[in-house]
Every structure is written in structure tokens, then in C-alpha cells.
Symmetry: D2
Subunit: 441 residues, 4 copies
């Protein structure tokens, strides 16, 4: 059964639908990849400020020491410049210097109550958007204008939903207790951004944290999965091998072969033993080595990732992998420089909170299909927020909001049914408002 607040939320969300579509398309048109979301984050900061939120960004939102996979200064500077050129407010962009593009909007309500956090991710993919016939963003003129970047995972929608929820909760503020934190995270792709926000203490005071993703395994608009399971813990690494070049005909023994070290590492990484306690994964996704056919290859870069059904298994994979890399370097007498580029914890929804979402979804009566369990089988760094809140005695849950998709995630033809924006705003606002109305769940 819907309560009065729920009714109000549904109504507000319906009114915002057109604006949401407009905003989503604006963001879609100006995609920004991880740690370069200067324009998107500025837009968010501006809107949250307008709505009366207390807004933090830059080093107030991000612990710089934990930024993984940050682009070079050059790339960041170019992106910041482009953001301003594309309409971002220069003062906000300045605060985000160095790619610290996370934004947190906080609103404290009049009475005591729980602290509820919602998390939205803002970054785009390294994908070149298709210009094929039938691709709606292209045909309707909102496809990417930024080179080699595209919102191919729906984060444009997530950001939009976040701002809609911000507006709804602000409108309901008189009826709410406690505190709401709206967390807009950069660099979810490559699972890089969450860690730097968690390590900044952004959810240390949070009792409930919620996250949501469009589509994925819920490929019909109007469906929802309330208890997403099987987040794989993951770590992302780059390993750069450096040896010594030599003429392969005249003096091969003078070379130190980084190419072979990398090849040897790749094979032996994949031979790391399976773990009896649950799923594990390893993938050397790229290997680029050598400079010329007749030169002993003195440089090699591999990009790889480990995964595990839980953080313990992923740690096992990680430790094995690091040892293998060092041994492979020793094997060919070369150096290896290993850099962590990303990571996500394994996690499970708090069952209580997942059940709460399910009850809300059922009671709203707007979903055609309310699923309880849904296996994720992939990685999301929302897990870091959830893990931290759960460790502090709080609860966390992640849901999947159904959306008709034009193509799979990360595909250059990706697009989603914009009606899903409304569904997502509604369930998130309803859940947040519900949690903020009582001290206890």
C-alpha cells in the first residue's frame, strides 16, 4: 500500500520526466570518462546548491591518495578546459583540480533520524559512439561530441536520476528526519572512484546506503530486482616491464627481454590455482611489447584484473598475481613496475534492506515484475560504500532497475528506454524518504 509521501513522490517524478530526458540527453552529448567529469560534476554541484544542499567537491569529497587510474595532468587539464568550453562553471571546475570530480550534497532535516546515502555514478566509457542508422542518440542529435567517449553504460541516466531525487527530497524536506547524502561518484568504470570517496570518510556516518543500475540483467522497462547478489571483488593492475634492447642477430645475449617476461607472466597468471572456497578469475586483457622485429623487446605493458567471489578470494588471486609478475621479471632479468588501477570489494546486500526495497516496490504497484534475487556476476565499486557502511553496523543494498536496451552495456550502439528514468527516481526517492521518516527501519 502506498503512503501519502509515496503518492507525492510518484506525482513529482512524473512531472519531472520531460526535464529528466532533457538533462540525460545533455549529459549524453557531453560524456566525460573517469576523473574528467568536470562538466557533469559542475552541473551536479550547481543544481544541488540551487536545491539547498550543502555541497562538497574536490579534496573535500575525494582522498587524493586513493585515486586509482588517474589520467595524466595533461589529459586532466585538457578535459577541464573542454568542460568550461562546453558550459561548465569555471569556479566549480577549479575546485575539482587534479580530477577530484566527486560531489556530495548533504541536507540535514529538522529532527533526529538516520543518515541515508544514495550513490550515483557519472563517468562515461572509452567507446566511440556509433553513427549507424537507427541509433537514436545519433538520429535525434544528442550523440557524443567528445572524441572517444560515450555514455554506453547509462551513467548519464544515473546522474539525471540523482538530481531528480535531490529535487524530490528537497521538496519533501518538511516531512523528513535525519540526514540525506547524495553521493555523485566519478570513475566507476574500471572501479576506480569509490575507494577514494570511502577513504575520505564520505560514508562514515551513514546508516543506510542505496545504489541502483539500469538494465544489465533486467532488460525490460517496468521490472526491478531488489536483491542483487554475487558482486565479484576485483582488482585492476598495470604491469610495466623494462629490460634492455639489443640487436637480435648480432648480440641477442646482450638484451634483457621484457617481451618474454610479459608473455611468461601472462601464461603463469592464468595458471594460478582455482580456489575451493568460490569463484575466482584472472584476465590479462592486453599485452603490448617490443619495438621492432629485429630488436630484443625491452618494454612490455600488461593490463590485467583479478576477481573473487569475495574479497578474501580476490586477495588470494591478487597476492598470487603479484608474486608471479615479480618472478616473471626475475626470470628475464628485467624490472617490473606494478600499479593498481582499480578495485572493488565483494559484497552482499543487507538482507533486511533488500527486503525493505522489495516491499516498497511491491506496494507502489508501478512495477510489472518485481524480482527478489538477481545474480550480478560482475564487479561494481558501490561495494566499497556498502562494505564500509555494513562494517559500521549500517545497511546497504543495490538494486537493478529494468530498462529496454538498444544494445548491451559498453556497446557503441547502447541506448536505454528513458521511461526507466522515472522508475528509478521513484523507487530511490520512495525508499530514501521511507528510511528518513522513522528512526528504525
Amino acid at each position: 500500500m502506498r503512503n501519502t509521501a509515496d503518492e507525492k513522490i510518484l506525482e513529482l517524478a512524473d512531472k519531472m520526466q520531460k526535464d529528466m530526458v532533457k538533462m540525460r540527453r545533455d549529459i549524453h552529448r557531453h560524456p566525460e570518462t573517469g576523473w574528467t567529469e568536470f562538466r557533469t560534476a559542475s552541473l551536479v554541484a550547481e543544481k544541488l546548491t540551487e536545491l539547498g544542499y550543502d555541497v562538497r567537491t574536490g579534496s573535500e569529497a575525494i582522498n587524493e591518495d586513493y585515486m586509482m587510474g588517474r589520467p595524466s595532468e595533461n589529459v586532466l587539464a585538457e578535459a577541464a578546459k573542454r568542460a568550461v568550453a562546453q558550459g561548465a562553471a569555471a569556479e566549480w571546475v577549479k575546485k575539482m583540480k587534479g580530477g577530484m570530480t566527486g560531489v556530495i550534497g548533504t541536507m540535514v532535516f529538522s529532527q533526529d533520524g538516520p543518515t541515508v546515502a544514495l550513490r550515483f555514478d557519472m563517468d562515461a566509457n572509452d567507446v566511440l559512439e556509433t553513427t549507424e542508422e537507427g541509433h537514436r542518440p545519433y538520429e535525434e542529435g544528442f550523440s557524443s561530441v567528445n572524441d572517444k567517449a560515450m555514455h554506453a553504460c547509462g551513467h548519464d541516466g544515473h546522474t539525471t536520476v540523482g538530481l531528480a531525487v535531490a529535487a524530490i527530497l528537497a521538496a519533501l524536506r518538511a516531512d523528513l528526519n535525519g540526514k540525506i547524502k547524495l553521493i555523485f561518484q566519478p570513475a566507476e568504470e574500471g572501479v576506480r572512484g569509490a575507494k577514494a570517496m570511502v577513504e575520505n570518510g564520505d560514508v562514515d556516518d551513514v546508516d543506510y546506503v542505496l545504489g541502483a543500475h539500469f538494465g544489465f540483467k533486467m532488460k525490460k522497462t517496468g521490472s526491478i530486482a531488489c536483491n542483487v547478489k554475487g558482486f565479484l571483488a576485483t582488482s585492476k593492475y598495470d604491469a610495466q616491464f623494462t629490460g634492455m634492447p639489443a640487436h637480435a642477430g648480432a648480440a641477442p645475449e646482450e638484451g634483457r627481454n621484457a617481451l618474454l617476461a610479459a608473455a611468461c607472466a601472462a601464461l603463469n597468471l592464468h595458471a594460478i590455482s582455482r580456489h575451493s572456497a568460490g569463484a575466482s578469475r584472472i584476465n590479462v586483457g592486453t599485452l603490448n611489447a617490443g619495438s621492432g622485429r629485429n630488436v630484443i623487446g625491452d618494454k612490455a605493458l600488461i593490463q590485467f584484473e583479478t576477481r573473487g567471489a569475495n574479497s578474501e578470494i580476490n586477495n588470494y588471486m591478487e597476492n598470487e598475481a603479484l608474486r608471479v609478475l615479480k618472478a616473471a621479471a626475475d626470470m628475464y632479468d628485467v624490472k617490473v613496475d606494478i600499479k593498481k588501477m582499480g578495485g572493488a570489494a565483494g559484497a552482499d546486500n543487507s538482507q533486511n534492506l533488500a527486503q525493505y526495497i522489495k516491499n516498497k516496490a511491491d506496494s507502489l504497484g508501478i512495477f510489472d515484475n518485481v524480482v527478489t534475487d538477481c545474480a550480478f556476476g560482475a564487479s561494481e565499486d558501490f561495494s566499497y560504500f556498502m562494505e564500509k557502511v555494513q562494517k559500521n553496523g549500517g545497511e546497504g543494498a543495490y538494486m537493478m532497475v529494468g530498462a529496454d536496451l538498444a544494445a548491451g552495456h559498453h556497446d557503441s550502439h547502447f541506448d536505454f528506454d528513458e521511461k526507466a528514468l522515472g522508475y528509478s527516481a521513484k523507487i530511490l526517492a520512495v525508499c530514501a524518504a521511507g528510511l528518513l521518516q522513522k528512526k528504525d527501519l
Copy 2:
């Protein structure tokens, strides 16, 4: 003791020194890499024609079926256009369509006699010429104007010497018997061009073939090595592996891993057994695989080469390598497409002819240091010409003409003492004229 003809040659060469420098610098400024020597070859064709040689180029000089490592049509078309823009005669460029940039100049003398061939290579390297202080070509304004190409091996000099010798022999024509063939070869780098000229029958009628290289192990102007030994036979290959991508977390078993196939190939190629009959080499010089960290790598390209103290050993290495590549592809259930990109035979100078050169070098009295044996330890596709002539009962030899060098071959700082142009023109013209004066050596 010099004879009259020798005296005349020395005198003519000395007179040409200034022109040689000028021409060498012009060629240096307009470097063209393998199979794109449209401007250089047009210049050669034009000059030879002017001197009264019968000139063949394009499909008259090159057997297209044996062109290894030919660039794409696009690249060839761009290069041809650039050549014309840089002053090449359009009609010559047209004849060389498809990169068939070899040129042969033939002159038949009045009386019967042997057919003598001299071979000169014309191509530049894939090297970006330095703009550091102290690099003479840069400081004196003749450094490369063509992107990513540089004469860093002295072929600009070789081509210049070839034209000087052409002029000298034309001037002496009344005193000569038999026939001279001046062979200007494209694509020596990567040992690609000789095969296509040999397979066109270009030296089928040749009794003596001579080649020369500046510098290398003779690093002093005024020195010469007459019996270069230890040409390594070599083969150059590209192997492209094609598998199937898959999400490394969600469905790794659906992938077919081309990256691992390539890594496995690289290791096992280097483990090919040594050969008891002499030196062998293998080098996987580059390996580039995969598209993203979390995707099973479905594409991988390796560039490798084999070498052997003689063609038999190189064949052994080649056969082993091809089997290893196929097995590595099978190992990971991927496809492999193997393309031969270049090759050179092993070869040894005809001892008689090498001795003849030595006698000439001694008798001229212009060299400070006349060395007999000199170990090459590298590969040169001049070996194909030599092998063919020797098989037909003729003789071949390769000499090294000393030159002070600014840096090693293929280095972006490479430059050589232009006095060496004269030394090279003299010894080659003297040897050729000598051979053309009598039916028997």
C-alpha cells in the same frame, strides 16, 4: 699497380665528389621507405637514361608475386603523390605503380665479354630524424622532410655512388667489353626487395655481381674490407592470431584467447632447439594483443624473425617456427594467419672475386687499411643476388667501404663522412671496369 683505366676512374670520381655530396643530400632530405622509393627511383631512372643506359623499372624489374612486406595501396598512393609533389617525374612514378620501384640500367659494350652487375639499395628507415644540436643534416638543412622516415643506414649514399659509377662507366664505354647492369633495389630494410628482382630474372645472365655497404664494421674513412663473411640467412614473418572476445568476469569460458596463444607462441618460439651445424637466431620482436582489461583478448599480432648461419639452418628455424605458431593457435582454439614479410639467404663471397677486390684495393694505393676478412653477423638480401649468380656458375662478392660515422646504423643521429662516397665509387668502378676488360678474371 694502377693501370690507365684505373687512373682515369680515380680522376673522374674526384671531379664528381661535389655533385655526389649534393645528390646524397637531396636524397637524404627526401627519404622513402621500402617499396615507396618513387622519387628516388625516378631520379635514378632519369639519370641512367640521360647517361645512355637502357632502363627498366616497374613490372619489368620486379616480380610482383615475390614482393614481401608491401605497404597498403593507400600508403603507396600517398607516397607516389608525395614523390611527384617533391619533384619526381610523373611518367616514371606511374611505371612504378604498386610500389615496383626497382630500376635496372643496362649498357652493352661493343665486344663480347662478361656481364657484370652492381647492386645499390635505395630505401630509408622508419626512423624519426633527430633535431638535436650537432646533427649535421639538421644543422646544414638537409635533414628529412618526410614524416617518420630517415636515411639512417647510408642508402642515400649507396644510390648516389651507383649514379656516379654509372657516369664513370659510361665515360669509359669505348674501353669496355661485355655488359654492365646497374641494379637499384628497393626495400632492403626488412630484407624484402632483392627476392622480387631475383625472381624476375634480373641476374640470370650475370657473371659477376658486386655489392658494397658503408660503415658497419669499418668505421674509418679510408678503410675497406674485401671479403665480408657470415651473412645470416633470415626470414621475417607476421603472425596474426584471431580468437573470440568474452567478458572476463561473466563468461570467460566463452572466449578464445588470442593473447595467450601469442604469449605461448613467443615462449615456445624462443625455446626452439639450437642447431649443431652453426649459429641460429629467433626473435619475437613485437607482440600486441587484446583490447581491454576485462575482455578475453581476441586479437594478437606478433612480428618475428629467424636467422641461420646458412640457408639450411634458417630453413630449420623457419619450419620449427611455423609449426610452433600453428600449435599455439590450436592450444587456445584460435586462428593464426602467417605472412612472410621478408627474407635473405645465407651466402659467402666467391673467394676468387674477393681476392680480386683485395688486389684492386691494394693496387690503387688510396686506402689506408685494406682488410681481407670481416664478419658480418647480420643479414642483407644482397645474398639473394649472390646466391643466384653463384648457382649459375658466376661469382659474387660484397665489400664494406669504411666511413667515419656520427652514430650507429638505424640510430636517429646517424650520418657518415661524405668522403666515403668517393672511395666507394672508385673501388666499384675500378673493379667493374677491370672485369669488363677481359673475358676471364
Copy 3:
């Protein structure tokens, strides 16, 4: 609540305890490894005959075409001879020629009813029994007299229990309906024997099949687990590589290196991709290659196994492994001969039947601890019987009967609390009798 028949069974079993201990020790003293259980099987055949069972053995019990990992004729002949020398009846041994040592005892009761099968395994391990102080079999004079064989897994007890149950059911025959089949299986170690019995049709007519194992994860006498889960499907293979020897100094290129082929296979087998649908395993357990330090190794044998959470995953591992082996052989131009040495299906208990066992165990009131679920995490070829019966619409279940253990299974110090013999005989006889008293469960 126990019924009358149950009471009778408990009483009979208690009376047999001493005889069971005696028989178990006799079998323990004369261990026979897979397919050589001539003495044990003869003993079984004799006792079953005495008890009035219809007895089949040799080719009547075993489909010879499916015997995996059968020893050489020589080994079998020696074992048969030894069995007779140790008291086996020569006529039974003769029937078991070729190692066909399976035995089936059938008894048909007066009224129609279900066909119930119980399966017991008889083989010993390739383990040298310890003679250390404190090892009861050694101290009490019943340790192995057969070289390199020991009952280190409790199959001596299983066989004993089987004969006790045979006696109990024979004693109760007037009260039973349907048909009982007591299956005594050879070669469970290495999961080799079940397949050959299933393929002989031994359980084609069976409605319920039960199996049991001592100890394992139930390490306390008086405990029982009724629903053993997580049988891993498995396949066991030997791969023999054959190359060509050569002197490693004088002519290494003439060798064909089976040692390197096997090493390459081992690494790449372990690099087979994980499967997203569940647990997989691969293990190259032994690799023995080469004959001398200075000879290219021309022979190599690897013994390996694959496993999967279910048969489909195991098939995936198996197919990948076979391809890898062939490719590794090709890689080094050697031959590989691959032989299947064993296998077991993945399986799950019929939940209905497992619940029935649990109810029986609870109602008997003799167990201190009745556990429902118990993860096996290993392989047992009982799964073949279970799979076949389930496919035909019947039910199967496997239980673990607790026993205090002196050491882990397959350890040379293994021994178990003989009180467990009684517990096992009781629960199996009670379940079988229960099933045979009614047409429907």
C-alpha cells in the same frame, strides 16, 4: 519412532559386531587394489551364496569395454595367484578373470515391490601401511601383508558392512517385498569401477540406490550426514608423449622433445579458463620425462584429472584439456597417446530419499548427531549408479556414517573406530528394509 523390523535389525546388528570386526580385520590384512580384488570378491561371493543370494560376477557383473585403468595382464595374473594362496576359492577367482571382480547378490522376495540396490566398494589404496608404534592394525597384527597396498580409506569396512546387511536382510526375508541387489564394486579408487557395472546394466531395474562412506567429513562415531552434496564430476587421464632422442650437445636439432611437450602441456592445462557456471578443477599430478641429462627427452608421461561442479563443466574441462595435449604434442613435433583412466559423474542426492534417510536416522535414536547437508567437494563414482537410477525415474542417495579416525583418508596411518561398522550396517539395513516393505516411499 522405531518399528518392529527396525528393532529386529538393531538387535541382529549388535549380535554381529564381533564377527564384523573379525572380517574387517581379515580384509584389512589382505588388501587388494583396483581390479585385483580376487580374494575379497571371492569371499563376498561365497558368503552371499551361503546366505541364499543369487550371485553374479566376472563378465556377468562387469562390461569389460568400460573397464578404465585396468592393470596389465601380468599384474592381474600375479594378483589372482596371490588371492588363491591367501585362501580364495579358485573357482570364484577363475570367474573373475581379467580383473572383472565386481559381485552382485540378488534376492527376490515373495511379493511385488521395488528394487532396492545398495553399493559397497572393496578396493584398497596404493599405500604402504605404516609400522609406527601406535598404529593399531600393526600392533594388533592385522596390518597389510600385501606389498604397496593398504586399506587406507575404509573400504574393508564397507565390504564388511555389505555382508552384514546381506545377512540381516536374508534373516528378514519373510517380511520384505520386491527385490534387493547388493552391489560390491571394484576399483572405486581412481573412480574406475562403477562405469563398467553401470554399463553392464546392473542398475537398469533399480528404483532406489543407496551408498555410504565412513568418516570423511563426519569424524565422530555416532554421527551421520544424510544428504551429501557437491559430488564433483571428474575425469582421469594419462598422456604419453613420444618423441625422438638425440645427443644434447652434438645434435640437439635432431631430437623431438617430449619432455618440453609435457612441460608445455602442464602449464597450458593449468591455464584453461575458469567456467562461470561453477567450480572447475585441473591437476597435472605427475610428470615423468627423459632418460638422461645429456639426451633430448624422448618420452614423457603425465597423469592428470579434470573436475567440474557438474558433468557439463567437467566436459568443458575435458575437451579443453584434450585439445591442449594435442597442441602441445604438435608444438614439439611429438606424438601423444591419451588414455582415459577413470571418471565420475557429478550428482545430487534425490531430495526425497535423503529426507527419508534423515527421518530413519532420527527415529532410530542411536545417533548422537544427525546432520542433513554435508558438502563433499570430492569425487565418487557412486555418482554413476545414482545418475543412472535417477535417469530411469528412480531415486538415489549417499550418506556419510561418522567414525573416529586415526588419520586422514589415504594416509598410511589411517584406521577407524570399528563401532562405526554397526552404525553403518544398522542405518543401511533399516533404510533398505523400509523401502522394501512398501511399494511407495
Copy 4:
């Protein structure tokens, strides 16, 4: 032209022919492998003593610290016992305790003169002698009575020749100056024994050292090669990897996989880069790993060898190999214990001395075919003696004395024409006597 001494030597040798055959057959019948030559060495010690030589053995002849590949104490004790049982004098055997079976016989002549050493090797091979028809030792009753040992390389003949030369030189003592040292070396197979004698200072005072081998590339009785070239330097190693076993199904991640470490080592050892300065070799000749199919292999032993055209190249191979082994162990988190089991230097005959042998061989007029150069292409630890003497300013040379062979060296059908005994005794005695007659060569 033969001189008087030469004539006398030829005559003496002819008289000894029958005794040589007898002795060779006695030694052939009682083969003793490396460091267990108790009977053979005792026989040598006894005969040398009888002939008036000063005899040293045991720790007087061997530096125990440099004994490579010494068998276990147990094996040595058994061999010593067997030697006595087969007729060895117990007091000599006792002196050779611990396998120090080298023997040196020294005789000082009346006048000053050079010190000349001859070296003979005494050990047999780990070969089971054939009992096929046509194998003369078997048919004539002198084939091996010792299990798994056979003189399949002719060292029985070498020892015999050594004693014949001892007798000849003793007979000529009045005519000789300086000092003769007859060195009987153990454990030449596996190139283990020479180092321990050289490091004992056994040739520190030597001016000329000579060695000889039957057969090999000189397969005709009556031929001789005076300048054996191309000794490959070599090193022999055993590497024992120790990991941790674990159940491959239940807990593979708990294992530490020595089998994979060894497989990885094998592949990467063979991938060590070739050396541009000359021939190199690597061979992993044996790899034995693992205990059972379903256990993570916790033990692995590899036996390998490196070689090089000279000691420097072999050192390069050795250093690379040791690094690879350690890295392979690290790769799988296991330990590796590396033991040097043998080694030989690269070496070249002193040209002066080789010429001297040739002159003698020519002048004697007994050889049908006197060859100068002969490429060895293998390893012999005589090189250590030669290297040491040459370093001290002396000279060394190694010759090959032709012999008709029944089969190749190390073959179980090996046998040689016993006429070769005489040829060898003659040339060695003649050369030694010649050197001992004058102070200067």
C-alpha cells in the same frame, strides 16, 4: 723416422698385446661407475706399485671439496664391499674411502727434465649390457657381472693402456729425464672427476699433459687424429623443487606446485637467448615430479646441463639458468635446491704439442691414416687438466685413437677392436718418452 727408443717401445707394446687384452676383459667384466672404481683403482695402484711408481690415492689424489655428483654413502659402501668380493686388495680400497678412487703414479728419472703427465679414465657407464647374440663380450664370457653398469665407452681400454704405458716407461727409465705422472681419473662420465684432481694440485707441476680416447669420430683401427678441437665447456646441475601437497579437488589453493615450477623452468631454460660469440646448449634431460594424480605435486627434480663453445659462453648459460630456476621457484612459491653435478672447461690443444704428436704419428709409420684436425663437439673433463697446465705455461693435447666399433659409445652393444689397445699404448709411450728425453720440445 723412428728413433731407437721408439723402436724399443713398439717392440715392448707388441709383446704386451695379449696381456692387455686379458686385462681389458677383466676390467670390462667388472665395470664400476663414477666414484665407485674401487676394484679398478686398486688394480691400478697395485700394478703401479709393482712397477716401481710412487703411488698416491684417496685424499692424496682427490680434493674432496670438489667431488661432484658423488653417490650416497650407502652406495659407496656397497660398491667398496663388492670390489673386495671381486678381488680388490682391501687395504687399497680402504684408502679410497668416500669414493676417492683417483690414482697417481709418479716416477722421477735421474736427470732434470720436464714433468709429463698422461691421463686415463677408469669409470663405466650406467648401461645394462646387452645379451644379444653377436655381442662379443657376452659370447666370449667377459660381459658385465655388475648390475646396471657396463664399460660402453672404452675406459676399460684406457685403463689398460695406462698400465701398459706405465710398464713401458718403467722399462725405459734409464733413458729418460724429468718426471712422469700417470693419472688415473675416476668419474669422467658426467664430467665429474677431473675437477677434484686438478683442485688437489695434481697437475700443478706438469709441463706437458696428454690424453687420448678410443673411437668416437675415428672409427677405423689404425687411424689417429692428433688435434682434437671444439671441446664444449659444460656444467651439469640437478635442481630439486619442494612445494606443498594439497588435495587437487578439495583445496588446490593450499598447494604449492613444484611440478608446475619445474615445467615452467624447463620451458624458460630452453628459451635462454643464443649467444653471438659461439655455440651454446641447454638441455633439461629429465623431469620427474608429483606423487599422485589428485595431489598438487610437491616435489620435482630436473637434471640439466649447459654447454658453450668456450668457458665464457658456458658461464653465461649457467648464470642465466640459475636465475631462471630461482625465478621459476618463486613463480610457484616453492623452494629450489640446486646442486652442481659435473662440469668441464672448454679447451683447445696447444698447437705446438698437437703438431709434435702428428710428427710422431707420421714418423712411426704404423698408422694408416693420420688426421690433423678433428672436431669433438662434445665435452670431456680432460679439459680441466689441459686448462690448468696451459695456465701455468705448459702445454696440453688430446688425441683420438681410431678403433673399429661394434656400436656407438654408450650403446649397450658397444665394443671395440682390441688391436687399438696397442696403437694407443704405442703412440702415448712414444710421445711421453720423446718429451722426457729432452728438456725442450
